[in-house]
């Protein structure tokens, strides 16, 4: 998991011996992390690589040669000649003791606990526990399913007081909502009455909670984790490009969780991004192509709609010239799709009027970026910018109202409405002869359109996004699109062949990316394989950076 530094900044290393294995480590690095990085499993609860060291759970105790007592591995810095044993009888005894104490008051809730299946307490209980309870007094009662914040559910009985969540609100969000109240046996996590856990990153505490004490309200009692299929992807909520895992069950998204990438989001993601997947399976999703026939939109086959769109665009071009057609792209498209769309605009439609509609929103100094689309930078890199003598977005809207542009092809209509305003969008729609809208959700423009093409969401595509800082990252298709819907890149390919004639060249993201690497200077040297799971910075390959 550690990022390899450059050769010049590599510090002198120390040698430590863990379970007889000699390991080169950075001086002062936590022994626990060094062991984990080398595949030596030391059980732990309170230690988290992105939080300060607490040492409260006592689970990571190891035997260090020359020391009488066991030491906690998380708070032991690596020094030269450290000899460590993580498997001895004394260590096993200590772990069993810690497990017994942690389980004294832990309820036997596993069958109804969302954490079951990914619970550290459960795993370590099997691996290091004694499987027997020696206490006879009843377990301590506490708050159950308490809404500690609008998006987080708290179960006090399950808490083992590792204080990961407390440190998260102190160190990462610096909002300080969670505290440990009481002392000794009455200690418990809580919030001040007037301050619920309501920060934009609150659900991360459910991820870092090693037990089922803090849970995502959205995922509460939704699906057992062992039924989920996970797909590595990137959040589509804003331009930050947080790495995520999409958890799906029978082709339905169940949850999004952050995936560690120290160059982008560490191990965090914002609540808005995490919970913003509802549109993928929404009931009002556009699932069929529609064409306006005698003033009324009717459902037709995708191929018929594409033929109708091509015919309409051809007619406008024949009567008013190619300059009477404009294309508004979407920053939600992958790089591969943007590259294909730019090619269609240049070669088949032959219009210079091409731009992007990028919705803007709030941002903060941590992860949330103002551009509320994942791939605005990538789309511009791929050439979704006005051509020579072409209008930009405002210019296109003005030209439509002036009657110069007669046909408009919009990908992502809600973004356009948001950027130019609903009233302006209505005026634009009224002034057009042909309005082709390609989208996943209904909007004013889809209702006003001549032709509606069903698009696909990011969760249904594989390809790449380029984040605000120019990091190119792969996304993976986690679910298959609804029946009859194809990814947008495929639509561009089919429309191109409907416009120009000839066979349809299938849309293969990896192959298109190779064309991008050959055609866009900053992407030279990159490929889906090179990008891997964590992505690369555009232009980095040329400069020899990681």
């Amino acid at each position: 998991m550690t990022e390899a530094g450059g050769p010049d900044e590599k510090p002198a290393t120390v040698r430590v011996v863990i379970d007889g294995r000699e390991i080169e480590a950075e001086p002062g690095a936590p022994l626990l992390q060094v062991a984990l990085d080398h595949g030596i499993q030391i059980p732990h609860y309170c230690y988290h690589p992105k939080l300060s060291i607490d040492g409260s759970c006592r689970m990571c105790q190891v035997q260090i040669q020359g020391q009488k007592k066991l030491a906690i591995a998380c708070n032991t810095p690596c020094t030269e000649g450290l000899v460590v044993d993580t498997r001895g009888d004394e260590v096993a005894d200590a772990r069993r003791g810690v497990m017994e104490l942690l389980l004294v008051n832990h309820p036997l809730d596993c069958p109804i606990c969302d954490q079951a299946g990914e619970c550290h307490l459960q795993d370590y209980s099997f691996a290091h526990g004694s499987h027997h309870a020696r206490t006879e007094s009843p377990r301590r009662k506490g708050l159950k399913r308490h809404p500690i914040g609008p998006r987080v559910v708290f179960d006090q009985e399950r808490c083992i007081l590792c204080r990961r969540c407390v440190r998260f609100t102190q160190e990462i969000t610096q909002t300080d909502e969670l505290r440990v109240f009481g002392i000794g046996d009455t200690s418990h996590i809580g919030t001040l009455e007037s301050r619920p856990l309501d920060n934009p990153y609150s659900v991360n505490v459910a991820d870092i909670c090693p037990v089922g004490a803090l849970l995502s309200a959205d995922f509460h009692h939704k699906r057992r984790v062992w039924f989920l299929d996970t797909t590595a992807s990137v959040c589509a909520g804003c331009a930050n490009g947080c790495n995520i895992e999409i958890g799906t069950w029978r082709n339905e998204i169940q949850r999004l969780t952050p995936r560690r990438n120290d160059a982008v989001n560490d191990t965090w993601m914002c609540d808005a991004g995490r919970l913003g997947y509802g549109f993928v399976g929404a009931a009002d999703r556009i699932r069929a192509a529609r064409v306006r026939i005698d003033g009324e939109q009717r459902e037709v086959s995708l191929q018929n709609a594409l033929d109708a769109a091509a015919e309409a665009l051809r007619q406008v071009r024949a009567t008013h010239g190619a300059g009477a057609i404009a294309i508004v792209g979407s920053a939600h498209l992958t790089n591969e799709e943007c590259f294909r769309l730019a090619a269609v605009a240049r070669d088949e439609v032959q219009t210079p009027h091409l731009d992007l509609a990028v919705p803007l929103g709030t941002s903060d100094a941590f992860l949330v970026k103002a551009e509320k689309a994942a791939n605005a930078r990538g789309a511009r890199d791929m050439g979704l910018v006005p051509g020579e003598g072409g209008h930009d977005l405002a210019g296109i809207a003005a030209a439509v109202e002036a009657g110069e542009i007669r046909a408009l092809w919009v990908v992502g209509s809600r973004d356009l409405e948001e950027v130019i305003g609903g009233e302006r969008a209505a005026k634009v729609a009224a002034a057009l002869e042909v309005l082709v809208v390609q989208d996943v959700q209904p909007s004013y423009l889809t209702a006003a359109a001549t032709i509606v093409l069903p698009g696909a969401t990011w969760a249904e595509k594989s390809g790449t996004f380029t984040n605000h800082a120019g990091r190119v990252q792969r996304i993976g298709g986690a679910v298959t699109p609804p029946e009859g819907v194809v990814v947008d890149g495929e639509l561009f390919a089919r429309l191109a062949s409907a416009l120009a004639g000839g066979a349809v060249a299938a849309f293969e993201p990896a192959q298109v990316f190779d064309q991008i690497a050959a055609g866009v200077a900053t992407y030279a040297g990159l490929s889906h394989l090179v990008l891997g799971a964590g992505g690369r910075n555009a232009g980095a390959a040329a400069n020899g950076e990681a």
């Binding site: 596993c110 069958p111 109804i112 159950k144 399913r145 009692h221 939704k222 057992r224 039924f227």
Partner: protein, 181 residues
Amino acid sequence: MAARVTQVDREAVRRSTGALGVAATLRGLRVTSRHFIRNLWGWMVGKPQVRTVMVPEEEDPKPAAFRGMPVLVALDSGKERCVACGLCEWACPVDCIHIEPGETVDEVERYPRVFDIDMGRCMYCGLCEEACPEEAIVMSARVDISAFSRAGLLWHKDQLLTPASQLARRLAYIREDYGRR
């Protein structure tokens, strides 16, 4: 019990069946008829020589170890004991169980909003019963599975719920059987 092994001379069998297997058919009919007449006679004189259960009017008693259709245990309140933990769904080798969990205001916060078993797929292996941490799904003695459509073979929660009193024998059996291990 020692296994009884009968050596069969395949050639001899083939020879004895003769043309079109007429002889074999007649031999079979003789066995069937003999049993039929003997049973009929026994029944007529009130001394039946074989045990006959008049299904479906009469119920065939099953041993406690018998695995029939899996059903859900209903508490006295009429609610299910199941908490929708999903372990039976996971254990099921033929994937015939479908559970949608939900949340209640009861003390145990989780319950199955939907609990479906596709009886057309179930193979009565009993792994669901063994996996269940709540003694909530047990193999009943019921085998009367029949329906006019495939959809009718999909049993929903209200059909599966069976009072615990009717399942007492099986519950005692599995407690002893699984508890022993």
